[in-house]
Symmetry: C2
């Protein structure tokens, strides 16, 4: 769609493997509130037709770079001037003993397979989810919604839920919300093996504990699907993504890559990043599409902006966590503010909203932010992301203009974003840091 907007006269075609394409972020919700993977589709054909693009359902098996052609499963050959590889990712499935047992699933973007998970979900008694990241917690909550009676456990090898995205206090809040839904959290535990006769019956942990389970879902992240690019001799990067430059070009400048299959670097230090998010993928796609025939957009690297909702509370984050920042050698100043998102607080529909901001000492540049509470946090995290992207200082955050309204936000005196920045400055001045 971006290529069409930028190059109205070019002939464009998209080759995809599946007729029906899932909305990736919606997959956990097909287990609960959406109810079916066929109600969670990207309207691909409509979008392509509206953008005057050829739509081909087929699978590319080979790229002939010298001949500028691709060959497909159906035996066709297509000529290209420029090519974009957007082959996405596959779920990580670690080589654990017993992983081939029945009723052990991962989250594949494959509609019949998702339906198979749902079919099992409606009859299973004991669900064990492996991984307490975003996929794991969202699946746990949606399975609870569908099956109030089921036993649900999550096994996580880190000490806290969502630890890669939130500082400890926010993770503890998320854990509380999950436990209130009778979801059993087994933290600081690794899976050693899956046992059972044919089908899985229990999950053995490294502590020696055993978790009864007639169904397992693994939510352990994803790895780049870069085999096609590798076979074509394109350079592959340190996280196994297709190596790209700042313009999303691969080692062959007529071939671009974007999304989960492409290598990424951090906005903060330029080092390889394994972040994979739909919002990053679409951003990269907008760069690749715009740069096809003329370099127009530059990729400064990934900030990482996350949001989800657990037990009706938003959990959102952007940029570095405290432990990530400290590991990179930052000295961090933290400011927090919490208030109801209405003024006065008795205005209807109000909910608590807490903001935590992380600034680098010395320069006071914003490097991270976390939000919990009211649903307006889903957009507030994007205010924070814009501030991080622009390397705004605490004073910039305090003094840029924000709009407030009694029925929509905290009062301008209590506005959480501004007060968190002011509190960071205040804390620092008071202690002389």
């Amino acid at each position: 769609m971006t290529a069409r907007k930028h190059y109205p006269d070019k002939s464009l075609a998209l080759i995809r493997k599946e007729q029906h394409v899932s909305i990736p972020c919606g997959i956990p919700y097909t287990f609960g509130i959406i109810g079916s993977p066929m109600k969670n589709l990207i309207p691909v054909d409509e979008m392509l037709a509206n953008n005057r693009m050829d739509s081909l359902v087929d699978e590319v098996l080979e790229i002939d770079r010298a001949g500028h052609t691709v060959s497909t499963l159906s035996g066709e050959k297509y000529q290209y001037g420029k090519l974009i590889i957007a082959t996405g990712s596959n779920p990580v499935i670690p080589p654990l003993p017993g992983r081939e047992r029945k009723n052990i699933f991962a989250i594949k973007k494959d509609i019949p397979y998702i339906q198979e998970i749902i079919d099992k979900l409606v009859e299973a008694k004991d669900l064990c989810i492996v991984g307490c990241g975003f996929i794991g917690v969202e699946i746990a909550e949606e399975c609870r919604r569908r099956r109030p009676d089921m036993n649900i456990s999550i096994v996580e090898m880190l000490r806290h839920c969502l630890q890669l995205v939130y500082d400890k206090e926010f993770s503890l809040t998320a854990e509380k919300v999950l436990r209130e839904q009778n979801i059993n959290l087994l933290l600081d535990e690794r899976v050693e093996a899956f046992l059972g006769e044919g089908a899985v019956e229990k999950v053995v942990l490294n502590s020696g504990a055993e978790v009864k389970a007639d169904m397992v879902i693994m939510g352990l992240g994803a790895e780049a699907n870069s085999g096609l690019a590798r076979a074509a001799g394109l350079e592959i990067g340190p996280t196994k993504g297709v190596q790209v430059n700042r313009y999303m070009q691969t080692s062959d400048s007529d071939i671009f890559a974007c999304g989960d299959c492409a290598e990424k670097v951090s906005f903060f230090d330029g080092q390889p990043s394994s972040l994979k998010l739909a919002s990053i993928s679409t951003m990269e796609a907008r760069m690749a599409g715009a740069n096809l025939f003329s370099l127009r957009r530059v990729n400064d690297g990934v900030i990482g902006v996350f949001s989800t909702i657990l037990g009706g509370n938003v959990f959102a984050a952007a940029g570095l966590t405290l432990s990530q920042a400290e590991a990179l050698g930052y000295s961090v100043i933290v400011g927090e503010a919490e208030s109801i998102n209405r003024h006065p607080g008795t205005m209807p529909g109000g909910a608590n909203l807490k903001v935590r901001l992380l600034f680098e000492a010395g320069r006071y540049v914003l490097i991270g932010g976390q939000v919990t509470g009211a649903t307006s946090g889903g957009e507030l995290i994007n205010v924070i992301s814009a501030c991080i992207n622009q390397r705004m200082t605490a004073d910039d955050v305090v003094t840029f203009q924000t709009g407030t309204h009694p029925a929509l936000t905290a009062s301008p005196v209590a506005y959480q974003l501004v007060n968190a920045a002011e509190n960071a400055i205040g804390a620092s001045r008071a202690t002389g840091v």
Copy 2:
């Protein structure tokens, strides 16, 4: 509060006229959903105590700049090292014939007076509101909420409702929402006089039309309350505010001014601006407080960020409208995008959200934005304001990282902010502008 954070060791006192202080933006809602001005109070004493500040209810009558003292109504004299004038504004009451008649009100930040308006509201039959800006439309809707049976009219001298803040299409949407609530809009009309025997009975318009009214509320904006500063010989600016420099200092560098009483300039062209908003006032207060003993913050001028909710729909705006930009000599590229704020659209709680962005041609720098629809627009307008503040280009808006989630926002493919920017570029490329 800012001064306390920045200067922990200073002695600070606040002198205010009233014991109870209204939340200014909440006043329209005291007429309806809040119900009483005593439920719409800033917890001033608590805030001052928490910040180790002396709290004095008194009125300053005179500033003696040579002696560095202020004298009050109660006969006290207080010494100051630095002084901040934050005397706010008074409602504009034009010198119309008959304005002294009974039951003609303006919106004063005065609790007994607000209660008087409410007492009249519960018994009046025909309410005429003068001015279809934010105060006018919010009051109209709240009066309708309280009095479903009352006749309500709004007289506006401009051609459209909220015309100073929105482009025509957004104003038309707001007008439709108001008319659906049986609020009679009399646009492109001026009040000539108020008639009646003692109490107001009708409002005469310049077209010759007469509006039956046993109650009138004027919502015509506010003018700086700068008399105290003027009497002290401080420089007064072109919009009658106390003249301040970029650090909020008046013509006497030991005296600062901020908020509605202080002169302002536009972020866009540095020219005088008469904008008066609580969010601007608090931002200026955070500058004045931080700069008291050491210049730490700089005022780049007002962008103007507005939000309200009418008929359940957010109406928010930041920066210049199309007609304001054109009047300043900008050639403007407009991009719009509209989508439901969920993905898939069947996720519960979804509502339509439309974004309109204005870019300057040539540089493609963002100069304005408008949002209607879902309540998440209340924070989305602050994303737009951050982008304007940082002079981000359309490409910057498209490619900075935003977070999305099925239960909170549009999909990353349909995210309205990004697509509005992309559509502006696309429209321009297609037409060669």
